[in-house]
């Protein structure tokens, strides 16, 4: 093992594939970025690694692990490029997938769009069987009936089958029989059964999750095996891990079996980095803010831990409208995403006021200043005209920005029609997008019971550090933190991600009546299952199990997760479980009702391996005084003064530990620019983080 000193994080995004190479011995980090190759994403992976090898010779053979994040799964759902998938369900219920929960997500809009189910009705088949809500078989399954249905599906050219029967979460016997019959009839068929994908009560959510898993399973399998082979062929013999939406990483085998858990790993990396920094620096409440070209994602991290929620919506057909996507139930990091980014378009709205976003010009054609044919003024155009960005140092000077064109665009399309000065218009665009983000952030923080006046804002993404100061001011946050390489640095999160896998069972029982020895048996079974899966991710390490219960007041519509720290249910009393529930409920919702009876709904186990420590690399001192880090003075807009004032421009690569200075300041690096107003002070720590205190 001693020569395996490198770890590589590799994240495939919509436009770019990012690479972060870490030398565990020296703590040194190398980064690379190349264009994503949508046809075969592993092309970009191989190319990017070869480019990195030019700088770090022979590292591939010394790689201990590659941690891979991909948007392949979510994109294939959004673009409907998955397998021809069929569903087998209980007689009377083939429309579950289509009926959903029947709620209208936009109450006043009679033309709301709804997503098409991934499996059309003619590919949804029923078998005659029935299991009662307590798991007893009412009507046994007829194997001949199943065989006929399966043969019919094979004849129709179905490549992947989802199986989800009513009440199967209580008793999977019929689902397992169906799986065996499918394997007999078609040994190569891709199969997803609901008991294995999500053994949880509520038939729509379970069916939708199982159907989604089935839909993406064949292509995920093909892609990951291709990727493994390519990595082998260039000399990699370490372990390959796949990032999950929950923030954990897992083995290739598990990702192939449960691709729905992968869904979307990119945005979670920033949050995982945030968690790590939160713990490292002991920050009780941290607000992760990751602003890119199209959207801003954020997440509140309390005590170094981000919330994980059990539900995710894929492919919202009405942009960012909650309820307009396909529901899947897998553990995902609790992110809030809104349509606010550098490419967000500014225009004069119907009411005659300024509007910015959620429409975006994206990366292509992009804002006017990119000079790639964009004609609509965007946030980046305003940032440039405010003096925050340097037209000659965007992406380190790789891309010259067209200030004149941006100015003309804003004058003609915004300032003119609104009857305001150019200066008012560009500041308005910047300020309004900050207001939109602050509004969403306040609501998100309120939902989690946090306090915006106590959070430390940490900024990621190309546009994050440009807007973080304004956002922090609007939140009333006292402190802002900008990590090294914020533009791609979120990929650093890959190295701090726990190797973890979550399993779950539903079994509704009142706390009053449940036998704790029965619960213990369920948990032991689940731990054996989760342990088996996690073993694939690490050979000899000790597995850590975390148990929790989803509980609720009897009759309540939603559950509260209660972590249980003891390793055996015979060591805990009914009263103690009740106290734990009441404690958490009160914390979340302000009060509890000790006299109302509660019930257990779900049993959850997270199996994980000990974290690999990550040593943050210390920065070197390259200059002897602060003066030498100054690139120059630039006039930029100050909202306090209401006019352009001189900002000192610093070269981030030259800043040294202990450096301290006051705003107004602009700190430039290749992938991003931090803007700090005159009422704040900045200090640089040993690791190159910028700590900004706001007054």
């Amino acid at each position: 093992m001693s020569d395996k000193i490198y770890r590589l994080g590799c994240d495939i995004g919509g436009t770019f594939t990012d690479f972060v190479l870490l030398n565990d011995e020296t703590g040194k980090i190398h980064i690379n970025k190349c264009l994503t190759t949508p046809k075969d994403p592993s092309d970009a992976v191989e190319e990017g690694i070869k480019e990195l090898e030019k700088g770090v010779r022979g590292f591939v053979g010394k790689l201990n692990e590659v941690i891979h994040g991909t948007t392949l799964v979510i994109n294939s759902i959004i673009e409907r490029k998955g397998a021809k998938t069929g569903l087998i369900t209980t007689k009377g219920f083939r429309d579950v997938l289509e009926l959903g929960r029947e709620i209208r997500y936009a109450p006043y809009d009679i033309f709301s769009e709804y997503p098409e189910p991934l499996i059309p009705r003619f590919l949804r088949f029923e078998v005659d069987e029935r299991i009662r809500s307590d798991g007893k078989v009412i009507k046994p399954l007829d194997p001949k009936n199943v065989r006929d249905v399966v043969r019919q599906m094979i004849d129709m050219g179905i490549e992947s089958i989802a199986v989800c029967l009513i009440n199967s979460f209580e008793n999977p016997v019929h689902e397992r029989m169906i799986k065996e019959i499918i394997l007999e009839e078609a040994p190569e068929m891709s199969i997803s059964i609901s008991y294995e994908v999500l053994p949880q009560i509520r038939e729509y959510e379970r069916t939708s999750t199982t159907a989604t898993n089935a839909y993406v399973k064949p292509l995920t399998g093909r892609y990951l095996s291709r990727l493994s082979n390519r990595l082998k062929s260039i000399g990699f013999d370490g372990r390959l891990f796949i990032m999950l939406a929950s923030g954990g990483i897992t083995s290739v085998d598990t990702a192939v079996e449960f691709p729905v858990r992968v869904i979307e790993s990119g945005p979670t990396a920033a949050v995982i980095s945030g968690q790590y920094y939160g713990k490292q620096f002991n920050i009780p409440e941290m607000f992760v803010f990751d602003m890119g070209g199209t959207t801003a994602k954020s997440c509140l991290i309390q005590g170094g831990v981000a919330g994980v929620v059990p539900t995710f919506e894929v492919g919202r057909v009405q942009r960012f409208m909650k309820g307009s996507g396909l529901t899947i139930q897998v553990p995902v990091v609790d992110l809030m995403e809104i349509g606010a980014g550098g490419g967000s378009i500014a225009k004069v709205g119907k009411m005659g006021t300024l509007q910015v976003g959620p429409e975006s010009s994206g990366a292509d054609p992009g804002p006017i200043c990119y000079g790639k044919g964009g004609t609509m003024p965007a946030v980046t155009d305003a940032d440039l005209l405010l003096g925050y960005l340097d037209e000659n140092y965007f992406l380190g000077g790789e891309m010259k920005l067209d200030q004149e064109a941006a100015k003309k665009g804003v004058e003609e399309l915004i300032a003119g029609p609104l009857g305001v000065s150019l200066q008012r218009a560009v500041w308005g665009i910047h300020d309004l997008i900050n207001e939109t983000m602050a509004g969403a952030a306040k609501t998100h923080i309120a939902e989690k019971g946090g306090n915006p006046k106590l959070v430390t804002v940490i900024a990621f993404g190309g546009a994050g550090p440009v807007h973080a100061y304004g956002l922090a001011k609007k939140l009333g946050a006292p402190r802002l933190l900008i990590p090294p390489i914020p533009g791609v640095g979120s990929a650093l999160g890959f190295f701090t991600a726990p190797r973890a896998f979550d399993v779950l069972r539903s079994h509704k029982q009142s706390l009053e009546d449940v036998e704790f020895s029965d619960i213990e048996l369920i948990f032991q079974e689940m731990e054996a299952e989760a342990g088996g899966i996690i073993m694939k991710a690490g050979e000899k390490e000790t597995i850590i199990f975390e148990r929790s219960l989803d509980m609720r007041f009897i009759g309540q519509g939603s559950e509260t997760n209660v972590p249980i720290s003891v390793d055996n249910f015979t060591k805990i009393t009914r009263e103690e479980v009740r106290e734990l529930f009441d404690g958490i409920y009160k914390n979340l919702y302000g009060r509890t009702y000790p006299e109302s009876p509660v019930e257990l709904i779900n049993y959850k186990v997270r199996a994980r391996l000990p974290e690999h420590p990550l040593q943050l690399p210390k920065i070197e001192t390259k200059v002897s005084s602060l003066k030498e880090t100054i690139k120059g003075i630039r006039n930029a807009y100050s909202p306090v003064v209401g006019d352009f004032i001189p900002y000192t421009v610093y070269d981030r690569y030259l800043l040294f530990p202990g450096a301290q200075f006051n705003g107004p300041a602009i700190i430039e690096e290749r992938e991003s620019t931090a803007v700090v107003g005159e009422d704040a002070s900045i200090s640089v720590d040993d690791f190159g983080f910028l700590w900004i205190d706001l007054k």
Binding site: R101, P107, Y108, I110, R132, E203, K350, R424, A446, S558
Partner: protein, 574 residues
């Protein structure tokens, strides 16, 4: 109009106001107990300026409540005398005539003071699942409906009026939940008040009067601009709503006058109020009239007094759409929900691309089940259901939702674990959508069985229904056909859908929700779409032929183009 703020500052402050209500709104999710509030979001937060003019409401507000509140709070504020309102006061009321039309909707309202001056009011209405009383749609007066709280001070200058709280506690079945949720309302108002004062402090404004003028002014201007595009004229719509067997139909008449940039809705000629709980108060009628107009003219526009300004509504006192105290009002949705489609029908001819045909989810259906299990333990379950939505000029009606109200279904697996019943089927009904160029949304069957084995309940199962569309289907528009009717069958025999039904072990019950109305001539429906509907089982072979004149060969499973063409041609001639 002369603006007091520049268009950028105005937008930023406007957004701030909306996000303040949203923040108050999301605090409810944390503090409310009832799942009706937490999960079904059956509550609305809003605030007004000091004159009671609505300025902003939560983004997820419920149409019935939000429309009624805009009107109700304004009236309440104007009725308060100058000295009757002090810093620290909190008002409470569930007067159906003052606010949202039934006792379960409880309103808590607080004045907001900044630097000792009254600057605004904040209010929220929560739907409380329990308000005491006799829980039934056939009550004879509002006294049977439950506890009536007139407008009183719950807090006087910051001091709780214990007597009011105690009075509430002793008149409801679940006092902890009800008072707990009232406290959550107080908390929501508190969030709103605090944030508004904070905004005033940050911006240096003394009050929000100018801001209110600009926001309301701009919104009104925009709404009026939309209305002015419609040719002047008087447009009429009518709705016939069935009542239980033996009672005559309820008629609602709407004359909608477009006069320059004004909409004047007159409901003169509508039936007198009824002797059961279907009566609708003026505010609730207005809420669903407003829902129709808002959705037609500009669904995206943020709600405030400005949207409502061009709209005037008249309804004869003592009619079913403007009932007099002390009429029973608990089942107001059974009639109130129809207002939206009646307005659509009236304006369809001038705004054909802004309306949808009648919906099977009008009115929302509510089923209350209760009984005893085999071990005699009691059980109780309430479910709400919709039907197929009406079609529009550009798309088929959505399959199965509640409209114009809203709500989620109860999963079968939850229902079966809460009750001893077995659901045999929950499926779309083929051919139930009204045929049309665009077809109405399909209705949905729920088929359940009372077990007669070891799980058989002890004694009968009681089933109470609030529903509609058993006799009168959802109507199509512009040549589109009607949706299918609702059905209620006990052991395959039609039951009484308007009362309390007792069912016993071994019985099977079918509840079919109505389909939505179609839009446009079915002969104009694309043959490929009919084929796709057929392949997916939304339309049967017979339906394709009879409703759409599309002939499909059952052997080849392909469209017989020649026969289809000639059949369609002959029908067009006729």
């Amino acid at each position: 109009m002369a603006m007091k703020f520049d268009p950028i500052t105005l937008e930023i402050l406007w957004r701030r106001l909306i996000s303040i209500v949203d923040e108050a709104d999301s605090s409810v999710a944390r503090t409310a107990f009832s799942s009706l509030l937490r999960d079904a979001h059956d509550y609305t937060c809003m605030f007004t300026d000091r004159k009671g003019r609505e300025l902003a409401q939560g983004s997820f507000a419920t149409p019935g409540q939000s429309g009624a509140m805009a009107l109700g709070i304004k009236k309440i504020v104007s009725s308060l005398s100058k000295d009757s309102c002090k810093n620290g006061d909190i008002f409470i009321t569930n007067d159906p005539w003052a606010l949202a039309g039934h006792l379960n909707d409880v309103c808590v309202m607080s004045p907001i003071y900044y630097k000792d001056n009254l600057v605004a009011f904040t209010a929220c209405v929560f739907h409380h699942s329990d308000i005491g009383g006799r829980v039934s749609s056939d009550n004879h007066d509002v006294f049977e409906d439950g506890l009536f709280i007139p407008l009183v001070k719950l807090y006087n200058r910051g001091v709780l009026n214990e007597a009011v709280m105690e009075m509430i506690r002793w008149n409801v079945r679940t006092p902890d939940d009800v008072t707990g949720d009232i406290r959550s309302q107080i908390a929501a108002n508190h969030v709103c008040s605090e944030k508004i004062c904070q905004m005033l402090e940050e911006t240096g404004l003394e009050n929000i009067d100018d801001l209110a003028d600009d926001i309301i002014g701009l919104t009104e201007k925009s709404m009026r601009g939309e209305v002015a595009k419609i040719p002047d004229g008087l447009y009429r719509g009518e709705g016939i709503i069935e009542q239980r067997e033996g009672k005559g139909d309820v008629i609602i008449k709407a004359a909608v006058e477009i006069k320059k940039d004004n909409v004047i809705v007159d409901l003169d000629g509508s039936s007198p109020q009824v002797d059961w709980g279907g009566n609708v108060v003026f505010n609730f009628t207005y809420a669903y009239v407003f829902m129709a107009i808002k959705s037609m003219f500009d669904p995206q526009m943020p709600n405030n007094e400005g949207c409502a300004k061009p709209i005037t509504m008249k309804a004869p006192e003592g009619s079913v759409v403007n009932c007099r105290f002390p009429a029973a009002v608990a089942a107001r949705m059974q009639i109130g929900h129809f207002l939206t489609e009646i307005i659509y029908r009236a304006l369809a001819e001038v705004m054909p691309e802004n309306v949808i045909a009648g919906s099977g989810g009008t009115p929302a259906t509510m089923n209350v089940f209760y009984g005893k299990r085999n071990d005699t333990s009691p059980w109780h379950s309430v479910i709400i259901r919709g039907g197929g939505m009406g079609a529009s000029y550009k798309e088929d009606g959505h399959y199965v939702s509640i409209f114009p109200a809203n709500g989620a279904n109860t999963p079968v697996e939850i229902f079966e674990s809460d009750t001893p019943l077995i659901v045999e089927e929950r499926a779309l009904l083929p051919d139930s959508g009204g045929p049309g160029k665009f077809k109405g949304g399909l209705g949905r069957r729920v088929f359940f069985r009372v077990p007669d084995d070891d799980y058989a309940p002890s004694g009968p199962v009681n089933l109470g229904i609030q529903s509609g569309r058993f006799r009168y289907p959802a109507k199509g528009l512009f040549g589109g056909g009607d949706g299918s009717r609702a059905q209620f069958l006990v052991n395959n025999i039609a039951g009484d859908p308007y009362g309390l039904t007792q069912i016993k072990s071994g019985d099977i019950v079918i509840m079919d929700a109505a389909g939505g109305g179609g839009y446009g001539d079915p002969l104009e429906r694309d043959v490929g779409m009919v084929m796709r509907d057929f392949l997916n089982g939304y339309v049967t072979l017979r339906g394709a032929r009879e409703d759409y004149s599309v002939v499909i060969d059952p052997k080849t499973m392909e469209v017989d183009k020649a026969k289809t063409e000639s059949l369609r041609r002959s029908l067009r001639k006729a």
